[in-house]
Each structure stands twice: as structure tokens, then as C-alpha cells.
């Protein structure tokens, strides 16, 4: 081999939206918001923890947080969190630029992949959808997809959803529960499957996703769940959603600084509860309030890609969002928005990219979009893999051997490497005649058929009957 001196190689595309100076300025803006304006905490334990740390409470539940305290929390919050699958395999090491993908949770509606009809989410849909997630190679973790609307007491629907996820896939789970009791039950169910509390702490397979809509007003249920998870030593995602122009400034930098400030409060409280508690943040999630539509506008180019950079500024794992669309059906808009967002989140190094398969106003789930995204993610992953340049890949000897008149079709170099290339399955790259012969189907139709194929073929690894029984008991106890 030839020795090359001072050789530099790019194996992945390089991408930055914010400079180091800009990130630092946003960080200082967040510290200033907390020190100057302060936040309201609607939970006594959270207030007590703040008092114990020397923070003065005023107006009953409002605290101004000194910057030094935040800096302390950031210095001890873990920078490396590994999420495991149901069998304790360490499948999602959240660090720097590792990117993992998965669906969203709790949609009110679903798009039926066979009829195209929009109907209420059901437990049956969750079970089937999770089986699809289990089968898809590029879906790394689970969320509940939709709400089990047929459960009479909606306060306990989250237990049914948790059980459905645990039973139909081995992949890691991001669970959402409205209240603390549901969170405790979700953790208990995860412990049953993991084989005990210590086992789950060592190889965490479930993450509690906490979403706060006002960064300066932290509600009791969110704080209680955060502190419970911290006490257990289990990971939480503490994510703000600022609606620019409504719950925060309409300008991107201000909305981001505000959202980031709220997340830093979560990082601090978790550390006050238990030093070293694992917390995942978004870096300051914000979208623009739809001034025309009185709701979310979905997708904000100015902020895309910037948030994970903020999380990485702290070396904390970054929670991201992609593979979703504002479109009401799986159409060209859906494809474009899903592709853009998946690529940008990957480029920016978001460690957990969720909401894949969301349509409409993040309120309607589509399995067709999910399987399309699975293929788009493959594309993204191949793209992120970069270009390998070395003697073997330059193949100069092969080029000389084949010469101007030969071909490479059956050369052993071709045989060695052609499988490393990507050949799409769902995206059509074939001949017109073949497309017609196969029924002239659109991508949406092929995706719908793929969902049915998976449902017909794929059976997830079952849980032991005894474990299932104990999960049922938790659900029954909650239902009362």
C-alpha cells in the first residue's frame, strides 16, 4: 500500500446551520431568560428542590434561576445515554451524531391504508402498526402511533397502548402518559419485561416523553413524571414546543432561546432530584403559529436543523422530528415534506427522530407514510455514509484490465461490491412496461400493499405467557 501523508477524508456530509458564536449567544439568551424573567413551576416537590438549591420562590410558584446552577446541572447531566431493546441489547447509543428513527404517538385519527378513510385510532390499529414498525429495518424505536379510542376510561388508555407496544415488538419504546400514575405503570410494565427494576435501569428500554407547550410554565404532571423518572435513574425526553408568535417570539432565534430555557429547567430539576439523571432535550423546538389558519403551520425551514446543534452544544442527546407532513393524505406534499425533514434531521445529527408517519395537524397517523419513510431513511443513511476513496474503490487495476472494449458486468470486482450499493424496493426505478405490467400503481398504492404484506408475513417475537399475564394485571389494576 502507498503511504499517504496528511490525508483528510470526509466519510459523512458536513452540515451546520449555526456558528459556534451563534450557539453561544442563544445559550446566554436562555440563561438570561431564566435569571431575569424566571419560570413558574406548578409542583411542590419541584419548588422544594429549587429552594434547597438556594433559589428564592416568589409569586407562589415562580423562580429565577441563577446561571451557575444551570451550568452545574449541565456539567453532571450524562452526555451518553444508551437505549436498549426489549431483550436488553444496546441498540440505540445516543451520542454525538448517531441518528435513530421512529414514529409518533397518540394521534386522534388514523388513515386506513386500505380504504384511505380517516377514522378514529384504535387499539387494533396500534397492535398492527407496531408489528409493521417491528418489521421495518430502518425504524429503530416505537411510539404508540394513535390513541386507543375504544378504551372507555380514556385516563387509562395509555396502559393499553404501552402493553400493545411491549407485546408486538422488541424495539425500544418512547412512551407518553398524561399523568404520573400512567408513567409509574409504564415503568412497572417495562420492569416486568426487563426482569426487574435494576435490570431496566442498567439497560433502559423505555423512555418517558414529556412535552411542554409553554417554556415558562411547567405543569404538575410533566414535572412529576420528570422527577419520577430521574429518581428511578431512567431517561426522559424533556421537550418544549414554542408556537412562534403565540407562546413565544415569532422570530426564530428568540423562540429557540425561550424553548431551550424551558428545557434547561428540566435538566436542572432532574439533576437536583438525582445527580446524573439521564435527560434528552430538543435544543429548543419551535414552529410558527399559523396566522392564517389559527393553528400549527407545520415545518419551519428557518429552524430546521438548528435545534440539534443547540443540544449538541451541551453534548446532550438531541430529540428531533421528521418524516411527517401537514398533508391530509399521502400525496406529493407528504413525500416532499417527509424527505426534506428526514434528511435535514440526519444531517444535523438529531439522535432520536420521531413523528414519522404523522399527517395533517400531527393528529392523523398513516402506516403508508411510515413504510415510505422507511425507504427514504435508507436513502438518507446511504447518503450519510459518504464516499469511500481508496485503492480498492478506485479500482485502477480493474479499469486497466477491462480496457476500452470489455465490460465490468461479471468482473469479480463488481461481484465484490455491487451489493454494497442501494437498490430501492418501494420507489420505482424500473421500466415503463414493467410498471404497467405490475398494474400502473402509484407509490401510495405500493406502500399500502407493503403494509398488508408485512401484516400477513411478520410475526413479532412473543413475550413469555407469564410476562403477558403480569402486564395484563397492571392494565386491569389501572382499569379498576
Amino acid at each position: 500500500m502507498i503511504t499517504q501523508s496528511n490525508y483528510m477524508e470526509y466519510r459523512t456530509p458536513q452540515f451546520r446551520r449555526l456558528s459556534d458564536d451563534q450557539l453561544e449567544r442563544i445559550h446566554h439568551a436562555s440563561l438570561e431568560i431564566l435569571d431575569r424573567t424566571g419560570v413558574c413551576l406548578y409542583d411542590q416537590e419541584a419548588l422544594d428542590l429549587m429552594k434547597k438549591a438556594g433559589v428564592k420562590v416568589f409569586e407562589g410558584n415562580r423562580v429565577r434561576i441563577p446561571p451557575g446552577l444551570i451550568e452545574w446541572a449541565l456539567s453532571i447531566a450524562p452526555k451518553h445515554i444508551t437505549i436498549c431493546d426489549r431483550n436488553g441489547r444496546r441498540v440505540m447509543p445516543l451520542e454525538r451524531n448517531n441518528v435513530f428513527f421512529g414514529p409518533g404517538s397518540d394521534c386522534l385519527w388514523v388513515l386506513d391504508h386500505r380504504t384511505g378513510e380517516r377514522r378514529r385510532g384504535t387499539l387494533d390499529y396500534i397492535e398492527q402498526g407496531i408489528r409493521v414498525c417491528d418489521a421495518l429495518p430502518n425504524i429503530d424505536f416505537l411510539m404508540s402511533l394513535c390513541i386507543a379510542s375504544e378504551v372507555e376510561d380514556q385516563k387509562v388508555a395509555d396502559r393499553y397502548q404501552m402493553r400493545a407496544m411491549l407485546m408486538n415488538s422488541t424495539k425500544p419504546i418512547l412512551f407518553v402518559t398524561p399523568e404520573l400514575e400512567g408513567c409509574k405503570d409504564a415503568v412497572e410494565m417495562s420492569e416486568i419485561v426487563a426482569g426487574g427494576a435494576e435490570e431496566l435501569r442498567r439497560d433502559p428500554s423505555s423512555v418517558c416523553y414529556i412535552n411542554i407547550v409553554h417554556p415558562l410554565r411547567h405543569n404538575a404532571e410533566s414535572l412529576q413524571r420528570l422527577l419520577f423518572m430521574a429518581e428511578k435513574g431512567l431517561p426522559s425526553i424533556y421537550c418544549m414546543v414554542v408556537s412562534g408568535g403565540s407562546t413565544g417570539p415569532v422570530t426564530a432565534a428568540g423562540a429557540m432561546a425561550l424553548a431551550n430555557a424551558g428545557e434547561l429547567v428540566g435538566v436542572l430539576l432532574a439533576q437536583l432530584k438525582r445527580e446524573g439523571a439521564p435527560v434528552i432535550v430538543s435544543g429548543g423546538y419551535a414552529h410558527v403559529f399559523g396566522m392564517l389558519t389559527h393553528g400549527g403551520s407545520g415545518g419551519r425551514p428557518r429552524l430546521l436543523g438548528a435545534r440539534p446543534e443547540m443540544a449538541h452544544y451541551y453534548d446532550l442527546p438531541a430529540f428531533g422530528l421528521g418524516g411527517a407532513t401537514g398533508a391530509k393524505v399521502v400525496d406529493q406534499q407528504a413525500g416532499a415534506q417527509a424527505a426534506f425533514s428526514l434528511l435535514i434531521e440526519a444531517l444535523s445529527g438529531a439522535n432520536i427522530v420521531h413523528d414519522i408517519g404523522y399527517t395533517g395537524r400531527a393528529d392523523c397517523y398513516s402506516l403508508e407514510l411510515l413504510v415510505i419513510c422507511d425507504e427514504l431513511i435508507e436513502f438518507v443513511r446511504r447518503f450519510m455514509g459518504g464516499v469511500e476513496v481508496n485503492e480498492e474503490t478506485l479500482a485502477l487495476d480493474v479499469i486497466d484490465e477491462v480496457g476500452p472494449h470489455g465490460h465490468y458486468l461479471d468482473h469479480k470486482h463488481t461481484l465484490r461490491h455491487y451489493r454494497q450499493e442501494w437498490y430501492p424496493k418501494l420507489l420505482d426505478t424500473g421500466k415503463y412496461e414493467d410498471w404497467v405490467a405490475a398494474g400502473s400503481k402509484t407509490l401510495r398504492q405500493r406502500a399500502s400493499e407493503r403494509v398488508d404484506e408485512i401484516l400477513a408475513e411478520h410475526q413479532p417475537e412473543p413475550l413469555l405467557p407469564d410476562v403477558q399475564k403480569r402486564l395484563d394485571e397492571v392494565v386491569r389494576r389501572a382499569t379498576g
Binding site: 465490460h407 458486468l409 461479471d410 455491487y418 421500466k431 414493467d434
Partner: protein, 214 residues
Amino acid sequence: MTDIRQVIASKLYQGEKEDVAQLVQQALDQGMGPEEILSDTLMPGMDQVGQDFKAGELFVPEVLMAARAMKAGVSVLRPLLTGSDAAYVGTCIIGTAEGDLHDIGKNLVGMMLEGASFEVVDLGTDVGPGVFVEAVRERHERHPKIVGMSALLTTTMVNMKATIDALEEAGLRDTVKVMVGGAPVTEAFAQQIGADGYASDAASAVEIARSLIA
């Protein structure tokens, strides 16, 4: 013990040419007839390769490896088959149309045809009508013949008609079947210029070639 026919078929499918040649010899040593090995083992094995290629399960390099393995197996049998070229089901004289240097498709078709036990005479690229006519005349006394032409350009595909006309003039048109292919070529165009067959890809080219000499 596994039937040697199955082992040969699976080695053929995997493109292991040395193994196939060796196993064919072994089958002969065990007393199997050469015709039987060809028709019951190698040909069905290659048909499976063609089918799986059409279904998108096999990739081009794998098909070509299988075709090479087929060739290796047949070369063991050839001296034993009655008549010098009885191991061939037919002869294909192929080349790209005059003025056309795009030969990947033609090469693929050639290798697939060899894998299907055709004798392939590859005239190369930019083949004028006269060269085709001469090649057909030389093999006048041989078994069923096919002339195969391909073109990638709309400007060269018209030259395929010139070859058909030249075969007509030379009084050889009735001695051969003509099949055409290539990206701009369609079934309708093939009929229009008086060709006997059209194939849209290398796998279907084998099917068409077989049906033309059946």
C-alpha cells in the same frame, strides 16, 4: 443423500462454475446420461435464474455468474452429446446496429443466451448489414439461427431495417429469425421493420429466442 441433480441446480444458481463442472462429471461417472443432465438439471436450473431475475430477486452479476457456471457444465457434456453441436439449442448471431457503440445490453443478452445453451456469435458493436449477412451465410448449414440486433439511439435503430433488407436481398431472410431490442425500440417498431421478435430485457430475450426456434 441429496440428489446430485439438486446439488448441481443449486450450485448453478449460486454461480459456482468449478463446482458445477465437477458435479456434472460426477453425475456422468454415476451413470447419468449427458442429455438427461442437460435437460433435467442444467436447463431447469437456468430457467429458475431467469425467473428470479425477472422477479427482482437476483441481480445482473449473479445471473451472469450462473450463466458462466452453465457454460462450464455444458462444456463437460458437449463432447459426449451426439453430433458436434447437439448441446446447443440454436445459434444466435448478435451485434449492435450500425453506428451504435452501446453494447452493455447486447453483452447481457449474449451471456444470458449462452447460459440458456445457445451458441452465441458476437459480432460486436457498430455492425453493418453486410457483416451480418456474411455471418449468416457462413453458418448456412447449421441448426436454427437467430440474428439479434440492439440499438440505444433513435438515430441508429433505423439501421436495423437495413440489415433485414440486406438479408432479404441475399436470399437468406427465410433461413433466420430476427429479433431486436434496446431502449428506444418497441414491439410496434419491431413489427414495422419486419423483425420476428422483440425483447424488452435480457431475461425476456431468452424466452423470445426460445419461442422463435421452437
